[in-house]
Symmetry: C2
Subunit: 117 residues, 2 copies
């Protein structure tokens, strides 16, 4: 199968769009737009998320073992585009999106949801 | 986070619908409708697919190390419903879907596409 045919086939998989956020132990945060997401189990509830191995988000999630997956709705394309690039934390906001809530409900390393604080 | 909230969040992930097919060494075949699918890498091209661990499709894919992921188009809801249940191979067809092509282009165990024969 040639490379173009592979790409054509892979492009047929539909995706949603999400912003993955995570907080490091030193208070640094990452927010990255992701779309490779699928559920992997009902019990326990598990998800698989593709995160670039050389990204800041990847290193923070690896360290903290926790992340939030923020579902975007219609009309939030701007938010998605915003987090194609990386931003530093600015008080309680990141990339101009405020308030940044450092304690959302999240999935933990094993994919279970965990309520932070 | 309560169970209902978890379910509500997980239902927000959109999916396509696919029929996974696989052929065992003894010529047995499996066809199962799946929807937990996501790409996992560009290079090499990798996909993640959720397959029920106690299903016939799972045991055949585990044995053969190969499967085909058939993309369904609009108007093929009937095919999707058909493969919610399991069927035996019948010559070159399965579940009344003919022709059954035992040698499609497929992903191998590592997720690479492999042209069968």
């Amino acid at each position: 199968m040639d490379q173009d045919a592979k790409k054509t086939a892979l492009r047929m998989i539909p995706y949603g769009i999400y912003v993955l956020t995570a907080e490091g132990k030193d208070g640094s945060v990452a927010a990255a737009t992701v779309n490779w997401v699928t559920q992997a189990s009902f019990s326990p509830p598990l998800v698989v998320i593709g995160v670039k191995a050389d990204s800041g988000a990847h290193s923070i999630v690896k360290e903290s073992g926790a992340f939030a997956l923020n579902m975007l709705g219609k009309g939030q394309q701007g938010v998605a585009f915003n987090f194609f690039k990386s931003h530093e934390r600015d008080g309680d906001s990141i990339g101009g999106e405020a308030p940044y809530n450092p304690h959302p409900s999240r999935f933990n390393r094993d994919g279970h949801y965990r309520k932070m604080l």
